[in-house]
Symmetry: C2
Subunit: 108 residues, 2 copies
């Protein structure tokens, strides 16, 4: 297991949390979401993001609307549903728990 793979594995499942968090601040579309994740030093590619967005939409956590773009094809703006907001709150708790668990195990 090399270093990059470790980081990939550590992030698994956490991306779902990050995407809901980003959408909770402002409706957004795929390339912008990727840019925001990148700004937080969290590199994500399209092949990763699109399936997550589709899963979350199918789970009723997100909906979307089409919006014209100044250049190029229209953008698919995603936004949280009420269920999405509840899921985000749950993931907030799960994340806090995980951080606490690691603190206990690491002895810090």
């Amino acid at each position: 297991m090399n270093e990059e793979n470790v980081k990939v594995q550590m992030r698994k499942g956490i991306l779902e949390y990050c995407i809901l968090a980003i959408l909770s601040r402002e409706d957004s579309y795929a390339p912008k979401i990727i840019a925001e994740l990148k700004a937080a030093q969290m590199i994500v590619v399209e092949g990763t993001l699109y399936p997550i967005l589709t899963r979350q939409k199918n789970a009723g956590l997100l909906t979307y609307r089409w919006e014209e773009s100044p250049q190029g094809p229209p953008r698919k703006y995603y936004m949280l549903t009420e269920a999405g907001r509840q899921q985000l709150a749950m993931l907030d708790e799960a994340w806090e728990e995980l951080v606490e668990q690691i603190k206990v195990i690491r002895g810090k």
Copy 2:
């Protein structure tokens, strides 16, 4: 995606970190490692732990020795190698980075 699945996914790759951290304090064997994780509210089953220990041993991060048990068959005590200690230090950094990234994204 239900709540349990979310937690499973969030933990991916992090278990590897936890196991190295536990072994850095004291050599240990599988059932005891599981008990320590459970004490930190991190439930792990044998079918998860054994493959990780084998992977880490094959990667040169761990070695083991056999030790008699007061009752039952002998125990396989795992211990960190120098490479394992280095990996642990690297995972410490990766974890800190991840926590920082989430803080940025979550806006807390």
